[in-house]
């Protein structure tokens, strides 16, 4: 029996791994052991039936397998092209103006050369920080509720809301926060911008948390509960720890996504030409500054916008790659 299984496996594996190899012309040999009983003889005759494919059918299967592989590879390449092009174009345009002074100084008025986007970089980091402080705990808690406290009605409502929220255009979230905070306090502010970004993070964080926690096998919950560990401790010390790598990845990807959001910041954080002065004041951010510089008529500003874009792309790239490495290391430790 096991001989038969192994043979089948090897054959399939060979077909997948070395698609370019010519198909073997001979049939795989019938297992060579000599069974004693009648039933075993039966099984062997069935075996040879299973493998008695004609060479034509065998070749056609190989061909189809190779075709499927080629299609997949082609699609991957096509999907990669825009990404690589964007990356290279941004580097090509932006690298020339990217230097230390760009990262650390304020923008200069029109006509003067030099200057940078230091204030926008600092502003973006502050906004991302505020967003994370709001979005991560709320998202993780909502995800925990969805995954662990299986209250069907509440979960259904929360899941529906988070799905709707993740589909809402970011500008609508911006208008919502504008009405809620900016109009109420008659002030554009870093807080308002951070809140808008935090709301945008929420659904991603909640759903990844839920999915990662669901991936933790029930046997681990049982193991913990059977030791007399209370439910909440089981969740905080066993489940979240086990799912932690995945949750971290979700958080970093959500952060990467909001780092480049422009629309919701236009009428919440507004933008500024000075260094950040307080959380209740308008604040500069990379995407908004890039936008403003890019639509200006000045060449100097266009170049600065490219350099700013490069910084933004690098931040996003750093976050994505960081999350991959983080998750990869966790997974390796788990296995």
């Amino acid at each position: 029996m096991s001989g038969r299984l192994r043979m089948q496996k090897e054959e399939d594996g060979a077909a997948e791994q070395t698609p370019r190899q010519a198909p073997p012309l001979t049939k795989p040999a019938v297992p060579s052991y000599q069974p004693a009983g009648k039933e075993m003889e039966n099984e062997i005759s069935r075996d040879s039936e299973l493998y008695s494919q004609s060479a034509v059918r065998r070749r056609s299967r190989k061909f189809r397998s190779r075709l499927a592989y080629c299609l997949c590879a082609l699609s991957t390449v096509i999907a990669m092209v825009p990404l690589v092009l964007i990356l290279f174009y941004v580097i090509y345009q932006g690298a020339g103006d990217l230097n230390l002074s760009f990262l650390t100084s304020l923008p200069k008025p029109v006509g003067e050369s030099g200057g940078g986007m230091g204030n926008a970089i600092a502003g973006s980091l502050i906004l991302i920080g505020i967003a994370a402080v709001i979005g991560v705990p709320l998202g993780v808690l909502a995800g925990t509720q969805l995954a662990e406290y299986r209250n069907p009605r509440l979960s259904c409502v929360v899941r529906l809301l988070s799905d709707i929220l993740s589909g809402v255009p970011s500008i609508i979230v911006g208008i919502f926060v504008y009405t809620l905070l900016v109009l109420t306090f008659k002030q554009f502010s870093a807080i308002a911008g951070g809140v808008a970004l935090g709301i945008l993070m929420l659904p991603t964080v909640a759903r990844t948390t839920e999915e990662m926690m669901r991936m933790v096998p029930d046997t681990l919950r049982e193991a913990s509960l059977a030791l007399g560990i209370p439910r909440w401790r089981t969740i905080t010390s066993v489940i979240i720890k086990t799912a932690g790598g995945g949750i971290m990845t979700g958080v970093m990807l959500a952060t990467a996504r909001i780092a480049g959001e422009t629309a919701p910041l236009l009428f919440t954080a507004l933008g500024s030409r000075t260094w950040p002065t307080g959380l209740d004041k308008p604040i500069a951010s990379l995407p908004v500054q890039i936008y403003q510089f890019a639509i200006s008529p000045f060449d100097e500003w266009h170049r600065q916008a490219w350099a700013g874009s490069l910084v933004l792309v690098l931040i996003v790239l750093f976050l994505s790659i960081g999350s991959k490495i983080f998750f990869g290391r966790k997974m390796k430790r788990a296995s």
């Binding site: 049982e222 509960l225 059977a226 010390s237």
Partner: protein, 259 residues
């Protein structure tokens, strides 16, 4: 009598399908009780009902009572966490916490369920529990390796050590030696023998010799026909069950004529 458990007309079902039914059974304190029976007859389900683990399965239902130390563990005022703290369980499939270190696995119950304890005291309990589970020599140099990196049999013993570390009143073990070599099995049996002065054990086993060797009382479970719920066919002192069983089914099972 500490650790004395009695079930009264206990039944359990999964999503409307009855898995065990009508089980009235007694587990004496400071003794080893073995549960035997063919695969699928409901031994694991029965064991899980004894420490309120069955209710964690979605759609699972329980009927009847389990009285532990004079109290019905399913009474509304009973706290499931308290019950599980008093009645520990080792599961059929080893389920160590894969990311926690070996030492943290063993001390998990102490750190997360019991009150504050000094590091030294925890280390001492970890070492003692691992020794009792016949695992200390193999892991003494990799206490900081993740629990998931141990072999299957080592994981099984790690789970035994973890259950022993919290020192419950009763320890339920579902096939605790199924992945162990004869030497480790021997050591686990010695541990059970040594600890039964202060603990009550219930073990499920497919190994008749093991049941005969370690247990004082035995219960034989059987589901009469395919799809029928499992019932406790017969129980009593082990030497009686193994030498002069009253029921034909028990005799057939023990002598290996079916199941």
């Amino acid at each position: 009598m500490a650790g004395y458990i009695a079930t009264n007309n206990l039944g359990a079902s999964f999503g409307g399908v009855q898995a065990i039914e009508n089980i009235t059974f007694e587990i004496p304190a400071n003794k080893v009780t073995a549960i035997i029976g063919p695969s699928g007859c409901g031994k694991s389900t029965f064991l899980r009902c004894l420490t309120r683990m069955h209710e964690l399965v979605p759609g699972a239902r329980i009927s009847g009572e389990v009285v532990w130390d004079g109290k019905n563990i399913y009474a509304s005022e009973m706290d499931a966490t308290e019950v599980r703290r008093g009645i520990g369980m080792v599961f059929q499939k080893p389920n160590p916490f894969p990311l926690m270190s070996v030492a943290d696995n063993v001390s998990a119950g102490l750190r997360l369920a019991a009150g504050r304890m000094s590091k030294a005291r925890i280390a001492e309990i970890v070492e003692r529990s691992l020794k009792l589970a016949a695992l200390w020599d193999e892991v003494r140099n990799k206490l900081h390796k993740p629990g998931g990196s141990l072999s299957g049999g080592q994981q099984q013993r790690l789970c035994i050590a973890r259950a022993l570390a919290v020192q419950p009143d009763v320890i339920l073990m579902d096939e605790p030696c199924s992945a162990l070599d004869p030497a480790s099995t021997q050591k686990i049996e010695d541990t059970i023998d040594k600890l039964k002065k202060s603990y009550t054990f219930v073990i499920v086993t497919h190994n008749m010799q093991q049941a005969a060797r370690v247990s004082d009382f035995s219960g034989f479970m059987l589901s009469q026909e395919m799809g029928e719920p499992g019932r406790m066919i017969e129980y009593g002192p082990t030497n009686k069950i193994f030498t002069t069983p009253e029921r034909k089914e028990t005799e057939n099972y023990i002598t290996g004529r079916f199941g």
